[in-house]
Symmetry: C2
Subunit: 148 residues, 2 copies
DNA sequence: AAAATACTTTACGTTTACGTAAACTTTATC
DNA sequence: GATAAAGTTTACGTAAACGTAAAGTATTTT
């Protein structure tokens, strides 16, 4: 099994570099389900994994409610109901399509960045050439202006 | 050169499936620069390209201001100033790193979706097996309950 | 010329994902 | 036992990215 530990809110916040406010917000939205000792939140390693997934989702452009839907769907999937299983498979297929689109977008962006970078380097090379020409000019005619 | 045409706001909106409101908003934020005939906006093919880039940026999780920064930077880059060129190269490197992160995230997500899908299919197979067993049972003992 | 269509500006409303401040308990430290 | 440190709830504020309604202009169609 996992590192069967529990975590405080600030432990998680530090580890993933988010504010405690965010963590509480994620709980509020039903994405995390910490238990309580008194009124203090205690997060399980499952919560920790989910937090990681939430943040990755965000980096991939997923909203919190999208991520929550996936979480909920997965939980219901575990119950083993056939309908839920099929729904999950369908959802997975949709997400895969979405990821394909993103991969295309990224590939396109990378290509365009390649050409952009190339143009930058060309322009820079031009500038360097001009600089060298200027230097040569001042060496060939040192103080020549004064000898008119 | 490009398809040197011009576009009305609704042409663009239809083509890229966004509202005219969004297009006006993008102009407001300085991402598009249509000219005017009277008070009516006229978009160039450059605007069209930019709109495409804006939307791709959104799909990749970029904010409008991030995209605007890139546009502005690129415009200044064209002026050929050395400092701007170097700044652009730096920015490009950063974006590349960001895309690398996204590619990692996507790869991870795909792996996890693979295992999730596998589990779903296993669970479904289990259900099918049980169904078949039930069917066989009712065939082997047709109305057997009544012959106690 | 009246009506429909496409465009405009102005401006307030909405959702998401938190930030920030206030006021309060609980636990650890001096 | 005072005080600091870490936690809590409540609640108002905010930036981003539009939605939506109001009210007006310009052009095209009937």
């Amino acid at each position: 099994m996992d590192i069967k530990k529990t975590y405080s809110i600030s432990e998680l916040a530090k580890e993933f570099d988010v504010t405690t406010r965010s963590v509480r917000f994620y709980e509020d939205q039903g994405l995390l389900h910490p238990t309580r000792r008194g009124q203090t939140r205690i997060f399980s390693s499952k919560d920790r994994v989910r937090l990681k997934l939430i943040l990755r989702g965000k980096r991939m452009g997923f909203s919190l409610s999208e991520t929550k839907e996936l979480f909920d769907l997965w939980d219901e999937t575990l119950s083993g109901n056939e309908k839920q299983l099929l729904l999950m498979l369908d959802t997975l297929a949709n997400k895969r399509a979405q990821l394909e689109q993103q991969k295309n977008d990224i590939a396109q962006a990378e290509m365009e960045m390649d050409t952009a970078e190339a143009r930058c380097r060309e322009a820079l090379a031009e500038l360097q050439k001009k600089k060298r020409q200027q230097k040569r000019a001042t060496k060939e005619e040192p103080e020549s202006i004064e000898q008119k």
